[in-house]
């Protein structure tokens, strides 16, 4: 397996994933380079080319979490459960503002954001997320539901006034 081939085929999704996690193009580029650097050093561990993307995403998540450990966690305001944020009409992709989406993501604490990005970007199921992050399924479900509600509130509900938002006291 060739590292140059790996870069050519996967640098774009890896960068996009990194961008959604870090919220900054400079940090995303650093993280992307870090991913391929680790990939180059551990290339022998990759058995099949078909599983390369998942392998790189795993390196990316680990590098992201490692780099974030020393940082102060961002506290997201009002991470409650809400279905009122589900829009009456299904939105069109073009109507979703990229910057607004990223701003909403950036407001989430790292552990909520990671679960959300895995769900949307990797199409991972809650079980897969729980396994990959070594978390209980209940924790993943709780974080996912709250993070999704937060995201929709910021994107589809301009006033963000919680009609049915119930703030969970025991958010894991």
């Amino acid at each position: 397996m060739d590292i140059d081939q790996l870069v050519a085929e996967h640098y774009q999704p890896v960068y996009r994933y990194a961008y959604r996690l870090t919220g900054s193009s400079a940090d995303a580029e650093d993280l992307t380079q870090q991913v391929f650097l680790v990939g180059q050093q551990k290339l022998g561990q990759l058995r099949k080319m078909e599983s390369a993307r998942g392998w790189l995403f795993t390196i990316l998540r680990n590098s992201f979490l490692k780099g974030r450990k020393r940082r102060q966690p961002v506290l997201a305001e009002g991470l409650g459960l809400s279905i009122d944020t589900i829009p009456a009409q299904v939105p069109r992709e073009v109507d979703i503002d990229n910057e607004r989406l990223q701003a909403a993501l950036d407001q989430l604490p790292d552990n909520f954001r990671l679960v959300l990005v895995m769900f949307y970007f990797e199409d991972a199921s809650y079980r897969e997320i729980a396994e990959a992050l070594d978390l209980p399924i209940g924790t993943v479900m709780s974080r996912l539901a709250r993070a999704k509600g937060h995201l929709r509130a910021k994107l589809f509900r301009p006033d963000h006034a919680g009609a049915q938002a119930r703030h969970a006291d025991s958010t894991p």
Binding site: Y15, S25, N98
Partner: protein, 283 residues
Amino acid sequence: MDNPPIRDERILEALEARRSGSDDVADPQMAQLEAALAADPALADLYERLQATDAVLAAKFRDAPVPEGLAGRIGERLAADRLQRAAPVAKEEPARAMPVEIPVEMPVQPRRISRRRLAIGGGALTAAALLAVASISIFYTPPSYDAATVREDAVKFFNAELSGTQPRAEAFLLAAKSPPSGYLFSSSVVRVRGTRWREIRGLLDTDGVAYDVPGPGGVCATLYVVRCKTAGLPNLPSSRPESTTGGCFTSAWQSDGLVYVLVVRGSPQIYRQLVRLPNNVLT
């Protein structure tokens, strides 16, 4: 947004986590949701809308602009990493790479050999192999270059780069991007603004880094930095550079395990301006 109220938090969480077509229904929380969806058309409608919204959001998540030239920059960082990691083992590599051939006499006819004889024979072969490897490790020394060879090779390399017969890797501004840490710029050379570094291959049979020093008409000098075994090289650049037939002035020295060769085009004055010596010998 007037959605049906959901009192049970577990159903709400399951609703958000569920993916159509997944095998999650085996989960008790999902089974509860399944029952609720079957019994409540309004909830089923909400779920459909949520799925459609999630699909749009998923597409949007993957839609982020990728900076131009990113693949190239990743490639450069990987190459620099390879270079850096290769540097410390370069000295030992020839010794370890030496093939050891042990003649083994194959019997014409297969015959029974006792375990004891096999063990003795095997032990003797292993000992012989170890002895051979040890002898090679002790007595083998990688080729070493004298000062004149170092300078000549560097000038040939420099001219080949100028004529284009030797390919040049992409160069980076020294002020903007650090070179590999194992091949740093020499403290005996003046660091001119606009100096660029790039990776090189094949000088003195090894890899390294070249620093191109800018002058009025382009590159006026190149400082080559490599790791190789040398004999008789001074620890500082010479105050009197060697002149070559191609109109270049060169000097080679070694410091901290690195070999430096400065090749200057033009006049010895440029060389003197670039080289920094103790006690201001040159000025």
